[in-house]
């Protein structure tokens, strides 16, 4: 029996195209139905390879199903739906179309059974996420978009080099677990790590995402880093270097978020921080850890989008996103405030939120492997997340001083979108079983062991105490923080300008040299040619005949020699 399987990504891609050619209620229908149709198609994909095709002489597998792949595709489809709902009345049509094409790329990556398909969808994401950054519309967004595109195209090239190497050396294009042991696999790993915003290029994320529009950042927060986490789970489970890379990302995110003034950039740094937890989990690589990485990615997409939505509503209503401009908005934006707080609690893995039920899986995995240092660092990081995102974000945006701003609360569609995700944050915190059922490996896990809940309450509430005790040190300043992107935005530019200067000076020197030479050499040569010079003057017949004899004799002699 032949079963027809529709590649889910195609439905979302078709939606993206239709958004461009429809208007009014028809476009709204496309926007809301395309992700739902995609979600339906995701659940029609059976386990194993469902679609094969030939491409450039290779047998590729554009659709391969598994529990893990369906989990990621499910949350990407839900994200496209709720993001579309959040944005459709405020965003421009081309931002929505780009967002859907971008989401289609992410869904495509989920089901890619081979490296070639993976690469094609990877680049689809790179292109359309760049468009979303550009739709931000400001000169900063244009510049950040170019930097973003360069970074992701570079990552794509590195990934491609690795894939080519693997194909040439193993003859296989299959996606299968590997370790970074040779040049090819390292190139693939580095290509993926660029997309998870790993060091030393984590800066691209906080550079680009906050430059996008109030609605664009909601989409950007979801797909690129999490599809890269899925790629890591599929290709590099148990690659231990990821533990240390992930831990770096976790603390990098906290420290930079603490220094930051722009609310959306705080959230961008905390994306790096949260993805760091997942990268650590992939590095640990046990079934429990990979379950943790997948579950945390699922929960993270929801609460992070919710946080970006609440910041997006604030930006949309007030035009501001810097903490120094904001404050006291809870008075007139109670719903957005509550949603922002729920998202903030979830990201802090507060008990009864989705972050608690998923992030603790990663800690348990570290503990089961006896990784004491990793476990303790993750616990410290959980406290740090509560500090920089759990309290800092809602405090400075919705409370702190009274900024005097009295904006209206969220428009209805934005409010409904936030309501759905806020509900899911709590629902998955109270009743995580539906999410457990989606996980790739079976597990025995008691999320709410009393001792663990008490430990996390101590940890988080005392970090809350630390926040309010240290509040004078947390006051925001109108500053940005230097990051590794300084090397290409400033140092690289200076070196380039200096090189241009050097080349210009060399050119100038050469020109001067030629000019001098010309002045030295030209007059004697010209004198040869003028009417008293050896070659220019009129010769007597005898002299001419003598020269002809000499030349002919020389010629005859040379001929016989």
């Amino acid at each position: 029996m032949i079963e027809m399987v529709i590649p889910p990504a195609f439905l979302l891609l078709a939606g993206a195209v239709l958004i461009g050619v429809t208007r009014g209620w028809l476009r709204t229908s496309v926007l809301l139905l395309a992700p739902l149709a995609t979600l339906w198609a995701v659940w029609q994909v059976p386990d194993g390879v469902a679609v094969t095709a030939y491409f450039l002489g290779y047998e590729i597998e554009p659709v391969e199903g598994s529990a893990l792949r369906r989990l990621f595709a499910t949350i990407f489809s839900i994200m496209a739906f709720v993001g579309g709902l959040f944005a459709f009345r405020q965003a421009r049509w081309y931002e929505l179309a780009a967002a859907y094409a971008y989401a289609a790329g992410a869904v495509g990556v989920c089901f890619a059974g081979d490296l070639i398909t993976l690469f094609l969808y990877w680049e689809l994401m790179a292109i359309f996420s760049t468009v979303i950054v550009w739709v931000g519309g400001t000169p900063q967004a244009r510049a950040a978009g170019i930097r973003y595109a360069i970074m992701h195209l570079l990552g794509g090239v590195i990934l491609k080099v690795g894939i080519e190497g693997i194909i040439v050396h193993t003859g296989s294009v299959d996606i299968q677990p590997m370790l970074a042991t040779n040049f090819d696999t390292w190139m693939v790993l580095i290509g993926i790590l660029i997309n998870v915003a790993a060091p030393p290029v984590s800066a691209w994320l906080a550079d680009a995402y906050p430059a996008s529009s109030a609605t664009g950042s909601v989409f950007l927060s979801a797909f690129t880093t999490k599809s890269a986490v899925l790629a890591l789970i599929l290709l590099f489970p148990g690659e231990s270097v990821l533990i240390w890379i992930g831990l770096y990302m976790v603390f990098y995110g906290i420290i930079y978020a603490l220094l930051e003034n722009d609310a959306r950039r705080i959230l961008a740094y905390s994306v790096v921080n949260q993805v760091g937890f997942m990268v650590v989990a992939v590095g640990i690589g046990t079934e429990m850890a990979l379950n943790g990485a997948a579950a945390h990615a699922f929960a993270h997409i929801i609460y992070k989008a919710l946080l970006f939505m609440s910041a997006g509503v604030v930006l949309y209503r007030t035009g501001f996103s810097r903490c120094t401009d904001l404050g006291g908005l809870f008075r007139t934006m109670p719903f957005t405030t509550v949603c922002g707080i729920i998202g903030a609690l979830a990201i802090s893995s507060f008990p009864l939120t989705s972050g608690f039920t998923t992030k603790t899986l990663i800690s348990v995995a570290a503990e089961q492997q006896g990784l004491a240092a990793v476990y303790m660092l993750l616990a410290a990081a959980s406290a740090g997340v509560f500090l920089h995102a759990g309290i800092k974000f809602p405090w400075f945006v919705f409370f702190q001083k009274d900024s005097g701003l009295r904006p209206k609360d969220a428009p209805w569609n934005m409010a409904v979108a936030m309501g759905i995700f806020a509900f899911l944050c709590i629902f998955l915190g109270v009743y995580p079983e539906p999410l457990w059922a989606l996980l790739p490996y079976p597990m025995e896990y008691e999320a709410y062991a009393p001792g663990k809940v008490l430990f996390y309450l101590q940890l988080l509430l005392f970090s809350g105490l630390a926040f309010f005790l240290l509040l004078p040190w947390m006051q925001r300043t109108m500053t940005i923080s230097l990051d590794t992107d300084w090397f290409w935005r400033v140092l690289g530019r200076r070196i380039a300008l200096a090189l241009i200067g050097v080349v210009a000076r060399i050119g100038q020197g050469l020109g001067q040299l030629l000019e001098n030479a010309r002045q030295q050499i030209a007059p004697p040569l010209l004198r040869l040619l003028d009417n008293r010079g050896a070659l220019g003057r009129t010769w007597q017949v005898g002299t001419t005949a003598l020269w002809i004899v000499i030349l002919l004799t020389t010629y005859v002699l040379l001929y016989y020699l």
Partner: protein
Amino acid sequence: MNDSDKQSDQSGQDDHWLVRPTTIRKLWIVFSIILALTVLGQFFIKIKGYFGIDGWFGFGAVYGLLACVLMVVVAKILGVVLKRQEDYYDD
């Protein structure tokens, strides 16, 4: 929290119940009680220590507080080196 009352007193724009000094004092009292309860709760609920010290009395509280203080201090120190004016990258 003290900053927020000063601000709203100075501006005098509103007197929302949530920012009144009396409310904030009450919030601090409630918060302190909750903090105390989470530590005292360890008399009744055993926290399983996976690596010895994490089962100590009040470890989560002390560890959370100190970790945060350390991170804020590190951020503060790094900020001296890393912070720049917002127009730093503009030409």
